[in-house]
């Protein structure tokens, strides 16, 4: 990479070239990898979404927006949008509230806080296949522990969870909340610890009690974090695949099939790369919209502070 044999250049030009070369040398390893494995595929994704191709040696054909018309005409695809949204509705708010609650509880100066923190965070670290396997057994409709407990507390006819098309998504959502709230708890905890203690001291002097402090200091100070967590959770919901795949496989009867399940199946089961990519573009548009909301929101918080 070192260069400098060309003696007819002035020393200033030489330095410039050398600076350029060093700059590129630093950036290049990542840049090459990123271009090849991320940037080109992203572009390619847009191209594929207007093509018809089954992955075989036959050339792809341009079909315009036909793929989009096809998927929106597909009852299963419209179903996946609906399921993904209902999944988001069922997980985002509970995760957020529980994460905040846990963080507030753990923000007290108590002995053994670290142990609790570990306990709450652990499901997030546990591998999804193991988690899916154990919850599937817990939710076993006829003799699983969850329904045994429900029967014991007097619910004679408990839901059949993953086996029932109306309850399967609820089961997945419960596991999702359980698994991910620990992660957002940590995010909240960091934000809580960032709140200056002088604010609380001042409030104490003014005679505020614990609940007042919570409502008038903690909650408002956490608004930017809450907004951030809200956005992240929503995006995560639209990308959900693993949990559904290991718990229900999208069933029963497509009842839990999500957007990414659809993309995966179209691409890797039926070899319809066109519709699969069209589905991917839909996902992109959704995530982009949420991200734009985040950007404008962030600008607002920063201006306010």
């Amino acid at each position: 990479m070192k260069n400098g044999k060309k003696t007819f250049l002035t020393s200033g030009q030489k330095r410039k070239i050398r600076n350029n070369m060093t700059g590129y040398a630093f950036v290049l390893p990542n840049l090459i990898g990123y271009t090849v494995f991320v940037f080109i595929p992203v572009i390619f994704s847009f191209i594929l979404s207007v093509m018809s191709w089954d992955g075989s040696q036959r050339p792809m054909q341009f079909v315009g927006l036909q793929n989009f018309a096809d998927i929106f005409g597909d009852r299963i695809f419209r179903g996946t949008l609906l399921h993904t949204i209902s999944y988001a509705l069922m997980t985002v708010i509970p995760t957020l509230i529980l994460a905040l609650l846990l963080a507030v509880l753990l923000n007290n100066k108590l002995k053994g806080v670290a142990v609790f923190r570990t306990a709450f965070y652990f499901p997030y670290i546990a591998s999804i296949v193991a988690v899916g396997a154990v919850w599937n057994m817990l939710f076993q409709p006829d003799f699983g522990p969850v329904n045994e407990i429900l029967k014991a507390v007097g619910i004679a006819d408990p839901p059949r969870w993953v086996v029932d098309k109306d309850w399967a998504m609820v089961a997945v959502a419960i596991v999702s909340v359980w698994k991910y709230m620990g992660y957002y708890m940590i995010v909240y905890l960091a934000a809580l610890q960032g709140i200056s203690s002088s604010l609380y001291e001042a409030a104490s002097i003014d005679g505020a009690n614990g609940r007042q402090k919570l409502w008038h200091i903690t909650v408002p100070m956490l608004t930017p974090t809450t907004f951030f967590v809200l956005i992240m959770l929503t995006i995560q919901c639209f990308k959900v695949f693993d949990l559904v795949y290991v718990m229900t496989g999208g069933g029963p009867g497509n009842a839990t099939k999500t957007l990414v399940n659809y993309i995966y199946e179209k691409a890797f089961t039926s070899w319809e790369f066109g519709p699969a990519s069209a589905g991917a573009i839909v996902l992109f548009v959704i995530v982009l919209a949420i991200t734009l909301i985040q950007f404008s929101g962030e600008r607002k918080w920063f201006r306010d502070m």
Binding site: M1, G33, S56, R58, V162, V163, G249, S270
Partner: protein, 452 residues
């Protein structure tokens, strides 16, 4: 302290790598490539087979299999071939049965030279692969070697697509009824006979259902395949699963649902969501009977051999409908083919030829596998095998008088089967009534075939 040291070590490692990357001005890919080689990971495209440490000069042939560990159906032939050709090493790419077609499709769409030889799971996917030109036509090989196709009794011709041969029949299987002798003995019920109508079978299933909770024993077991209902609808040979009108399936779906709703078989959605393999249900003695293909004989024999299970089991002829006599069955061929992208077609052909030869058939028969070469001796060998259930009725159960394919050789069969599977699921979980399901089938299959 320890944590700090750990970080330091990690940092040092990173530094070294960082220096390598920058100083040598090498791209990351090169460096990674180097690491890969030392890590001895299989590298597609090379026939030298770096992953298994094969001695120099050994040819490596890669083959794809499914559930290889639970059945000897592939390994027996692979071992025999390796023994006969010491300079060839067979590399097995194994996938679980339910993901097999999926993952095979992924490798083929990449047009990679591996795998060389493909065991095709069913005739439908063979047609699909042949249609996508992912399989190598083998007519020239057949001609060159003067291969006698008559030993397959017409099966080889059945597998042709557009007048070309893409595969040879490897296995031939048909449906029989498995039962757990111990459970029947305990209930003091007579074993299923080789001449039973479906109605008698349903009554028997109801009779054999006992227990509660997790210790419940189901009378029978239907796996989640659509075949476990539709097969019986096409058993008499009057219909196939590609029809303009599906109303002939109605009684079969009603009966399938009755079995499920009566609690005589495990319900569809439990099996489906928990992804439960039929063999584990039978092996765990959770069902008294199970209609399944003859390939399961080898699985059971191996399981007994390895001591995984040790209960007495038996085989009966599959039940028949009221208006036919016993001996009507449904089955399918398992072809073996060569990938169109193989870089060693001659070696691949040699293996394919061996795997579908009479010699291989003999080896397989000892393991309880029925090959594409139907012969009386093969039957005798299977029946005489050590772990084959004792009793003349078990051998009789293997006989059939009429054989229909579980799916017709229709170029669009895979697409149609997707519809069949979807509707099957909807009916079994009560999302559709039987009538709605049949209307949907008639409509959507008609659309695929261009009939309406």
């Amino acid at each position: 302290m320890r944590k700090r040291r750990l970080t330091a070590a990690l940092m040092a490692g990173i530094m070294v790598c960082g220096m390598l990357t920058a100083c040598q001005s090498k791209t990351v890919q090169d460096q990674q490539g180097g690491e890969e080689e030392t890590a001895q990971t299989s590298d597609a495209g090379e026939t030298s087979g770096s992953n298994s440490g094969a001695p120099e000069g050994k040819q490596v042939l890669s083959v794809t299999t499914w559930d290889n560990e639970s059945s000897p159906q592939f390994q027996a032939v692979i071992d025999a071939y390796e023994e006969e050709n010491p300079d060839v090493e067979i590399k097995v790419i194994d996938t679980s049965a339910d993901e097999y077609n999926n993952s095979l499709g992924i490798s083929l769409s990449a047009a990679q030279p591996d795998p060389d030889v493909i065991w095709v799971k069913d005739m439908g996917s063979m047609l699909q692969m042949a249609d996508k030109e992912q399989l190598l036509p083998i007519d020239d090989f057949i001609e060159e070697d003067n291969l006698d196709l008559s030993i397959y009794k017409g099966a080889a011709e059945q597998l042709m697509y557009n007048g070309k041969s893409y595969s040879l029949p490897y296995r031939n299987d048909w449906y029989v009824l498995y039962y757990n002798k111990d459970l029947f003995d305990a209930a003091e019920v007579e074993y299923p006979s080789n001449d039973m109508t479906w109605e008698e079978y349903y009554d028997l299933a109801a009779k054999m259902t006992s227990g509660e909770g997790s210790s419940k024993v189901y009378g029978s077991h239907n796996h989640t395949w659509q075949a476990l209902v539709t097969n019986w609808a096409v058993q008499d040979g009057k219909h196939t699963v590609v029809e303009k009108d599906y109303s002939f399936m109605k009684p079969w779906y009603e009966q399938g649902l009755a079995l499920q709703d009566g609690g005589y078989i495990q319900d569809y959605s439990t099996l489906k969501t928990a992804n439960i393999h039929y063999s584990s249900v039978f092996k765990n003695q959770q069902c008294a009977m199970m209609p399944m293909g003859t390939w399961f004989i080898a699985t059971m024999m191996q399981s007994q051999e390895e001591g995984e299970t040790d209960f007495n089991w038996g085989i009966a002829t599959i039940p028949h409908s009221k208006d036919t006599e016993a001996g009507y069955t449904v089955g399918a061929l398992t072809p073996i083919a060569i990938s169109a992208f193989t870089d060693q077609p001659d070696l691949a052909w040699d293996f394919v030829k061996f795997a579908s030869s009479e010699k291989a058939a003999e080896i397989l028969a000892k393991q309880g596998v029925f090959t594409g070469i139907p012969s009386e001796t093969a039957f005798q060998t299977i029946a005489a095998a050590e772990r084959f259930p004792e009793g003349e009725s078990n051998v009789e159960a293997l006989n059939y008088t009429h054989y229909s394919f579980d799916r017709p050789l229709d170029p669009q069969i895979e697409e149609i089967r997707t519809v069949l599977n979807e509707v099957h699921e909807m009916i079994m979980i009560h999302s559709y009534s039987v009538d709605e399901g049949i209307a949907e089938l008639t409509k959507r299959v008609g659309e695929i075939k261009g009939w309406n």
